[in-house]
């Protein structure tokens, strides 16, 4: 079964586009939230990751900060 993936992003962040392109390429479906448009999502992201940098991935509770293809692949079993 595929894991639930949530990506916290902003529209201007290069690594965010790279994370999303990477997931799409691998055929992973994900929910993407723009934290500049959604204050609650920003707070949620800071709480989960303990920092404000984007992108942040939440893969069913596993938090990955930044674009880290290897870690994402491992977590999703790709």
């Amino acid at each position: 079964m595929s894991k639930k993936v949530k990506v916290y992003t902003t529209s201007t962040c290069s690594y965010c586009s790279m994370v999303k392109a990477f997931l799409a390429e691998k055929g992973v479906s994900f929910e993407s939230v723009d934290v500049t448009q959604d204050k609650n999502a920003l707070e949620e992201m800071v709480k989960k990751s303990g920092q404000m940098g984007v992108p942040v991935l939440d893969i069913e509770g596993k938090i990955i900060v930044g674009f880290n293809p290897k870690e994402i692949e491992e977590e999703l079993g790709l």
């Binding site: 902003t10 290069s14 500049t36 800071v46 984007v54 290897k70």
Partner: protein
Amino acid sequence: MKCRELIIVGAGPGGMTAGIYAARKKMDFIMVTRDIGGQAILSSDIENYLGYQFITGAELVKKFREHVESFNLDIKENEPVKIVQKEGDIIRVETEAREYSAKAVIIASGRVPRELGVKGEKEFKNRGVTYCATCDAPLFTGKSVAVIGGGNAGLDAVLQLIKIASKVFLLEFSSHITGDAVMIDKVKNSDKVEIYTGTRVEEIYGDMVVRGIRVRRGEEVKELEVEGVFVEIGSKPASDFVKGVKKNEKGEIIINPQCETSLPGIFAAGDVTNVFGKQIIVACGEGAKAALAAFLYLNKKA
């Protein structure tokens, strides 16, 4: 431990070009790097890279990456290099987790943002303290922020932040703002901006995220309530980890026209060196030169 022919440190434009040249020469090598793209990925608009009338840094890096990956290279990503040291004829490359060695090394580690060096800066990095306005400005929509540095980079950050933040403090250590006149006018005309010159940041404080900064102007100490601190005081070459090679007063690794450093076997390319023109296209050219020079060096030794 396996001793390779070559290790390339860094995978920005210089390192990646060196990688392509080394791959085409069928050299036995790996690339060790913190990230792929380096500073290039942070450029919003690029209009002077041959072949593209307009491209963003992210898109250009994606093209570079595709090109590099077509060679099936061994790239050790997320492995910032801690030490490069020559021991006898062998060069040791140490990362946090591992150690590698090679007969030749190309340093293409680029530049990193200069830090303030004040209390709280490290602690609150990515929790309000940021070195990239283009990346992080939107996170501070409706918030009060401080920009440190009154040069063009600082003014550029202020202009981006004026559109989204509720209040922008611009702090400059020297007695006046030094950026372009056009930008200074725009900044001064905004009623959101408060400028402090001759002012030094003493501390960044907060809880889980930044809540404020303590600043000093002469005898006067003041606390400013901000949630974001944009440090825009320039960059420095990422050369501290390279031991024993000659550097200039700016910390740039000194190279000759063949990209050779003062230590035989250690080559350097791009923004980390004293080369004139800190440009993507220059870094690419330098990376190519460094790989060709390393190839010749190894052939002579063999």
